[in-house]
């Protein structure tokens, strides 16, 4: 029997690590990975809350899991477009230092 707040606390810690990664790393690929980590932390909280609220017959509350499914789909779409943009910027400038990328114009 694990209290549900343990899961929420773990989710908060993972989210903070992701936010710290966005702030301190200068490699745009690692910033992307940190964003994925933050999305994952949110998913973990969704599933934990969905499990702790049960509807009739001991079934979990499925909306939590369905929202996680949508978040996974949105993350996949975001990564596809974001990585295509990074590849294009690298082709145009031969450099993906995040401090020098202040415009998307090629």
């Amino acid at each position: 029997m694990v209290p549900v707040n343990y899961y929420v606390a773990l989710s908060a810690v993972l989210f903070t690590i992701g936010a710290l990664g966005v702030l301190i790393r200068r490699n745009p690929l690692i910033i992307f990975m940190s964003v994925e980590l933050m999305l994952n932390a949110g998913n973990l909280a969704f599933v934990a809350f969905g499990r702790s609220y049960e509807i009739a017959g001991g079934q979990p509350f499925f909306s939590g899991q369905i929202f996680v499914f949508f978040v996974i789909a949105v993350a996949a779409a975001e990564v596809a477009v974001g990585l295509a943009l990074i590849v294009e910027i690298f082709k145009a400038r031969k450099n993906i230092n995040i401090d020098e990328l202040n415009s998307l114009k090629g």
């Binding site: 707040n5 973990l44 993350a75 990564v79 294009e88």
Partner: protein, 174 residues
């Protein structure tokens, strides 16, 4: 201290240390591999929470598709080791301070305002049954049909966007 809590603590130790490894690796390939480990650990958490379908989609979509895409791009661009540049010297200490404040505050809020009567037990056979999966699918395709269709349009738009972004460069080169 029962066995559930020990399993939870060991898994959360793996999850947090692999996230920190992702954050502090100098080489971007190592970061990606640490993140794969983190995603697999989170998938095990989903199994413990009685969400086997989400756990399997986590492994196929995140640990499979998304991270392979990341590794391809890292190796394609040769961006394993970017030279560290520090244009704002005060930014890093400020970021660490704010992150510590955020984690202390959020964990304090979670602990202090917790509903102490909510417990999660290890899922039994009834929770992992086919019936439950069927119930979730019924909910997905009835109650959430419109968001599901919008998600498919979103994925289509993202695919077309990625193709258009990479194709325009070729036309200019000709």
């Amino acid at each position: 201290m029962n066995s559930d809590i020990i399993v939870f603590l060991v898994l959360s130790l793996i999850a947090i240390s692999s996230a920190l490894g992702m954050l502090f690796s100098r080489n971007a390939v190592y970061s990606a591999l640490y993140l794969v480990l983190n995603f697999v650990t989170v998938a095990v958490f989903y199994l413990l929470l009685g969400a086997p379908f989400i756990a399997m989609s986590q492994i196929t979509v995140y640990a499979g598709a998304i991270m392979v895409l990341f590794l391809f791009v890292i190796m394609l661009l040769g961006a394993e080791n970017l030279a560290p540049s520090q244009s704002l010297p005060w930014q890093k200490p400020l970021a660490y301070t704010l992150a510590v404040v955020l984690v202390v505050e959020s964990v304090y809020l979670v602990i202090s305002r917790a509903q102490t009567d909510k417990f999660i037990s290890t899922p039994d056979a009834a929770l992992n049954s086919m019936e439950n999966l069927r119930e979730m699918a019924m909910s997905l395709f009835n109650q959430y049909l419109l968001p599901f269709e919008i998600t498919s349009i979103l994925l289509l738009v993202a695919m077309v966007g990625a193709i258009v972004l990479t194709k325009q460069e070729k036309r200019e080169q000709k």
